[in-house]
Point group: C2
Chain length 483, copies 2
């Protein structure tokens, strides 16, 4: 069907000014941050309340029309890629901070609220919202919930899932339910945990209760420059082994440093093969003690600088935060890869990435959250040179395989979306994927809620995993014999 | 059927010495820590490997026989209560610590491993496993996973769910799958989060990967005695408001103090209406600074003692740790209640509990994790006095209602099990419960995996929530109108 036929029903729910059917306007929504994938949505609806979202979803379910939720559209894995035959539900008009309760350290917000706006609402009381994706000035809390977003300071403070206490959601069937809440424990299943990071496939968050943290008394930021990546990697391991969990440990290699120096002249020490940014925060006494320890553990660095004030701190971070854009100035095109390895595997993996780059002639810059082993290799290529795009994609895929072969993960914080669903079978057995699919099918038997995301080849929901083709999944996965 | 008929099949899987059918021996397993509920299991099987667990479960599924998993049997909500018509799968022979990887801060253990054994395995390297239920010398990690166990130090360090990184489980259908793992992020649904705390209804954990923490450099323990419960409660709020998250803040009221003094003579300050135990840990510099702050914030206390060494620290904790047993010496019978309220509601809730106690003539001692609002009222009664048991149960239920009316929870750390399933509708709407039931039915369509636990009136799994009796769940919950 042509989903524009639903426009009158949607106008009744949200009003005429909140339904978009004009093709030029619809094109604004054709992709999220993964610009390599685009599809103009059939229709866009902009609700302002949970009830409206529930009614929109129930209309879609009744008509058998697929629908996709979108916040600010900053996601990097295509999780909010629309469907030409479907409805795009945009939460940008659900932007109220519903409450800040400092005594109980919580804030309640609508899903379209921008990440940094939560901190702005809490900061007069000395509190803040910890997860800090690089896009925090524009990305929405609803999108953060969908993708379980991370950020540089997640090393110490954890990901979005560690800061969402409760949710009101519209289920894929259009029911309005509450998951979790502000109390320290909720009985029954922890569906908050399962919902956060489900990339829009288990429903749409309409209200989010987040944990607030007290702003730390003190912060210290150190930049250390090393002669080799191995020495920088060894320093990361030494810091963690000493029992210190800094707020952030970021690493950049020579290729990345060269790019940011060319772009923003941040004044990193010349000749460094790698720099580390180490930030510690907390009570002033702890910060002073930990900064001393970190200095000692970074003894192999040929240059160490500690920010004397916020201006110097901002200068140190400027290079890191400009890195992706700087690579865009250096290289006509690049792929932002996102993979995870155990911290201890960092030296081996980085050395192997260097070999992959040399052998393929495709430059790779490394800019990453070293503390938790979350790599962001930037695979640089020129799409006007015949064959380079393909070679870059091969290198990018080989890096993911490398992460998996070291016991890591396909994604650290950008999600699977449409971008990596084809790789899921490299990380999970059929039985593992079938088990996840149980949950998806239970919530969304019609397969209408953000279809085509996360899972490689969704089977029909009626099909019991483990009983297709008469083969037991244990036999398939090779994990156990049949009884 | 008489499930002892399955004995030959089970003997083939686990060997003859691991199948129990003798009634006297079976009686050993008739209850867990909730001794008010008992049922002699039809048969007990003691597997030693994940494959054996999977084969046992597949046998049960093939025969349509219910089964229950049990670790050490220390749970307080009857989560491991057996079925007379079912199989009890006991994990006590799965006790291997499979690996300790200090560089990546993880340990991999079998489910029957005792909680404290994880710390013992890691402590030579200076690491430990944080969740510390009072039963940690005997309770098993598998049971901790099932119940999402807490402990005094969960205020700072979080519950079991915050420390389990990965699981190998046998699903209710008998499939062996992996959920999560040691990497910092796993794509797809966070089924680790949903499994932890599912009280044995989503399958049986056969391997658990836990996070290890570095043992803190320093610990300080302070005992503060107050003239009133309100003053002690205000001190708790002041500490948290100051941005300090102590490792533990425990409170005991006068009734509890009297009981422990009578039982173990721990020498708490005489005449206290309430005592607080505040423990701070971390880098020595931080501990010293925080201890000073806590002293200042506890200025209203009429007596403050700081433990000078481990012996004095043990003496302070002795009273707290002996409290439940001490009440057993004071009162012929008692109910251990477990509820949660927002920290800020503590004074109002404690005052109301006092009124409930006075009006009913049923004494209530309060011993609890004040920092996270997790109450453990001990409702004392004499079951030989006509009507007292009923009145005690009424007071106990009224306390739960009180917690809920303040936006709290039915349980902080003991779980729902069989004990509180009847209260679930007081906390959750039908739509909320139906949403949880979606997950249970997806995993366990036959309803054979720990049936009768957690949920009040499980409906048939074929029945779609929201479509029974033609009534939309939104209409039932009163949250939204029908479209």
């Amino acid at each position: 069907m042509d989903v524009t036929g639903l426009a009158p029903a949607f106008r009744e729910i949200v009003g005429a000014d909140a339904v978009i059917t004009d093709h030029q306007e619809l094109r604004t929504y054709e992709c999220d941050g993964l610009t390599s994938h685009a599809a103009v949505p059939g229709i866009v609806v902009l609700p302002t309340s949970a009830d409206q979202v529930a009614r929109i979803v129930r209309t879609c379910v009744a008509e058998g029309v697929p629908y996709v939720a979108r916040g600010s559209g900053t996601g990097l894995s295509g999780g909010a890629l629309p469907r030409a035959d479907g409805v795009l539900i945009v939460t940008s008009r659900m932007r109220r901070v519903l409450g800040v309760d400092v005594a109980n350290r919580i804030a309640v917000v609508e899903p379209g609220v921008v990440n940094l706006a939560v901190t702005r609402a809490a900061s007069p009381s000395g509190y803040y919202y910890a997860p800090d994706p690089s896009s925090q000035q524009i990305c929405s809390i609803g999108g953060n919930v969908a993708e379980n977003s991370g950020g540089a300071h997640c090393l110490k403070y954890g990901f979005t899932v560690n800061h969402v206490l409760g949710l009101e959601i519209v289920t894929p069937q259009g029911e309005l339910v509450r998951l979790g809440g502000p109390a320290v424990q909720y009985p029954g299943y922890d569906l908050v945990g399962a919902f956060v990071g489900s990339e829009g496939t288990l429903g749409i968050a309409t209200e989010v209760t987040v944990r607030l943290l007290r702003a730390p008394e003190d912060v210290a930021t150190l930049l250390a420059a090393f002669d080799s990546i191995d020495a920088a990697g060894a320093c990361v391991s030494a810091i963690i082994a000493a029992g210190i969990i800094p707020a952030a440990i970021e690493m950049m290699d020579a290729t990345a440093i060269a790019a940011v120096e060319a772009a923003v002249a941040c004044g990193y020490p010349p000749g460094a093969a790698a720099v580390l940014i180490v930030e510690v925060d907390g009570p002033a006494a702890e910060v002073a003690a930990q900064l001393d320890q970190v200095r000692t553990l970074a003894a192999e660095a040929f240059d160490i600088r500690v920010a004397a004030d916020d201006t110097e701190r901002a200068a140190i971070w400027k290079g890191r935060k400009s890195a992706f854009a700087a690579i865009g100035h250096t290289s006509p095109s690049y792929i932002v890869q996102d993979g995870v390895v155990p911290r201890t595997a960092l030296p081996a993996v980085l050395s192997r990435i260097e070999t992959l780059s040399r052998d393929s002639g495709i430059a790779v810059a490394n800019v990453f959250h070293a503390g938790d082993g979350n790599l962001h290799p930037l695979v640089m290529y020129d799409d006007k040179v015949a064959g380079e795009t393909e070679r870059a994609e091969e290198v990018s895929a080989a890096i993911l395989d490398l992460c998996l072969s070291h016991g890591g993960s396909l994604t650290g914080e950008h999600g699977i979306g449409v971008d990596k669903s084809r790789y899921m079978p490299r990380m999970f057995s059929d039985a593992d994927l079938d088990t996840m699919q149980l949950l998806r099918c239970a919530f969304d038997p019609g397969g209408l809620c953000n279809p085509g995301k996360v899972f490689p080849t969704p089977r029909l929901c009626g099909e019991r995993p483990g009983h297709r083709k008469g083969v037991h999944p244990l036999a398939e996965s090779g994990k156990a014999e049949l009884l």
